[in-house]
Subunit: 207 residues, 2 copies
């Protein structure tokens, strides 16, 4: 049975992106810094078909394990718009990606196994389709913040992973807001720590 | 040489207190929940001269180590006002506490070794006095958020410890805002995890 999980990098003051994000400014002002720990790891770079990167460290292992479990992604329209303008042609998912949008658009097949499906069905139905696509793998709610919040508030997330970089953004897009805390609670599952980032793994109990 | 440190409990969405805090509502609506993990530990309860509590666990050890290192506290006026109305007569510091306030008031000696000094000197001078009082122990910037932010922005904090409870407040007093991130950076020092709370220890590099 596919699990549904969130896996997202965050600054210590709670932002997943800087202000003024968009196609020409992916992740907003200074937002890329939230992921500096990740950009240097081979597991991330090779997923983008880029050379180099560090191996044999806990951050690389953590990325590798996450990538291995993803069978399908769900993302919001804004995240897709930012990504479409910036991802390489061989975009970094290598599996189906369901994009929440009211725009009618044919599915977009990119080299390397990524197919973007554009859908305005309700979030339950979209998840059902994503689970079918994922087969025995898991579904990742990729972002952005609003999409993650929607799925969390609907009681549809099983696991929530955050990677806290010890940096401060001061402004931008907050991850943990607009939450209906009567609908779910978090329980600590595991913590992995390196000198650059702290990985926190929570199980979500839905009510 | 005394270290200056912050040690504060925080919700996963970044709050150190709920909304509507004050003398009659210490830590604000639902704010006490941020510290549930702490209230059950012997190291905390015995500091309040209360019986019972759990021992032989990593959370209790963490509290004990923190308490042992404190030679003096610095706190803001609002924190003091909330506390004065709610701390037991034998208030839970057992060392000098410097309260930032413009109110003129004689030092207040409480049983059990806590003396509150009320001061409107600048924060550098107050810290100097606190360090003298602390002798070979450390100075804790106790709170609230504004006092912590002031000391952090002044480049006066050496270590920053947060205890993240896996709960959501939704509203209240944020710890990490109004920060001048050009003045300091955080480096991960250590992480301690239990099933109820995650203790993150950062070293502060002041610029």
């Amino acid at each position: 049975m596919s699990k549904v999980f969130v896996d997202v990098g965050i600054s210590l003051d709670g932002f997943i992106a800087g202000p003024n994000g968009g196609a020409k400014n992916p992740l907003g002002d200074d937002g890329l810094k939230i992921h500096n720990w990740m950009f240097k790891q081979k597991a991330f770079l090779s997923h983008l078909k880029l050379e180099g990167g560090e191996t044999n460290n806990i951050d690389n292992d953590t990325i590798e394990k996450t990538i291995d479990r993803i069978g399908a992604n769900i993302m919001g329209k804004s995240m897709f718009i930012e990504g479409e303008a910036n991802w390489p042609e061989d975009s970094p998912f290598h599996c189906p990606v369901y994009v929440l949008t009211h725009e009618k658009r044919e599915s977009l097949v990119r080299p390397g196994g990524t197919t973007f499906h554009f859908t305005d069905e309700n979030i339950y139905k979209i998840l059902e389709n994503a689970k079918k696509s994922a087969a025995n793998k898991d579904v990742r709610i990729s972002g952005g913040a609003r999409t993650i919040q929607q799925y969390l508030n609907a009681g549809l997330v099983d696991e929530f992973i955050i990677h806290i970089a010890p940096i401060f953004m001061g402004a931008g897009v907050r991850l943990f807001e607009h939450l209906d805390k009567t609908k779910f609670s978090f329980a600590i599952n595991n913590i992995i720590n390196s000198s650059e980032v702290t990985h926190l793994f929570y199980n979500v109990k839905n009510k």
